[in-house]
């Protein structure tokens, strides 16, 4: 465990990292970014926590079992959204033109509208959840294992 200064700064910064990652995930269809990138940003925050505190400390709040279930949930939402279009074809973007995220932007450069993109924003969230849970689980498992701690199945 590092010094108190580092721990305090880490705690404060974690909030900004979460907000920034969430922003990248939510605006994936308008600005550079998306589920993978935003998820990776948030996981970098988790790694920062892992460095500042030690892995046993972190294990009390982030449990592998929870992370596994989160990851499965994200994956299930993703594949369910892909399955939902099967009335026309698998992976069909069935929300374009509907009230939820269904607006179509003007062709050509425009300022951007958050309610566009059909299933894309929803999928970004599913992927973001999955990336956060998956990569945190990997990093945490490696840290715990190399510190000699046993992991539950």
């Amino acid at each position: 465990m590092l010094s108190k200064i580092v721990r305090t700064v880490t705690n404060e910064f974690m909030l900004f990292i979460l907000v920034f990652g969430f922003y990248i995930i939510a605006h994936g269809h308008l600005t550079p970014g998306g589920g993978f990138q935003g998820g990776a940003v948030i996981v970098s925050g988790v790694v920062m926590l892992l460095v500042a505190f030690n892995s046993q400390e972190l294990k009390k709040t982030l449990h592998e079992r929870v992370l596994s279930i989160m990851e499965s949930t994200g994956a299930l939402i993703f594949i369910a959204l892909a399955f939902a279009g099967i009335g026309t074809a698998f992976c069909y973007n069935f929300l374009v033109g509907s009230p939820i995220f269904g607006r179509i932007p003007a062709t050509g450069p425009n300022p951007g509208d958050i309610w566009t993109g059909g299933v894309i924003p929803l999928m970004n969230f599913a992927v973001g959840l999955k990336v956060i849970a998956g990569l945190s689980a990997v990093v945490l498992a490696m840290a715990l294992f190399s510190s000699g701690e046993e992991i539950e199945e």
Partner: protein, 117 residues
């Protein structure tokens, strides 16, 4: 930025691939081997993403862009996929190396290889 001599980005990618193959073939340390695979992935990704560049093109995002040509979006999507795949591969490789080190106490690929066929 109109014309880059010797196709420099492609050349860099090819050389990166060459260096990483050198590491993979000749280095004995398993961690170095993993670094070689990571560099190979970096070289291939650099090659893929530079395929899509068009001179003077903007990023293919319509939000507040100025009119003009755009670079090709598909190579960027392919590169994104490839990067994520390589993260997964590296994570699994490192896990196995942790185990190999636990069991044999060594990272040398010559020493740890007990059975030869």
């Amino acid at each position: 930025m109109d014309h880059i001599p010797f196709n420099f980005p492609f050349l860099a990618a090819a050389l990166l691939v060459g260096v990483s193959f050198y590491i993979i073939i000749f280095k004995k340390n398993l961690i170095k081997l993993i670094m070689g695979v990571a560099m190979l992935a970096a070289g291939v990704n650099l090659f893929l993403v530079s395929l899509g560049f068009r001179a003077g093109g903007a990023a293919p995002i319509y939000t507040n862009v100025t009119e003009g040509p755009m670079v090709m979006p598909v190579p960027q999507a392919l590169t994104l996929t490839s990067i994520v795949i390589n993260v997964a591969v590296l994570a699994l490789m490192l896990t196995m190396v942790i185990h190999i080190y636990r069991h044999t106490g060594s990272l040398d690929s010559e020493k740890s290889r007990k059975m030869k066929g």
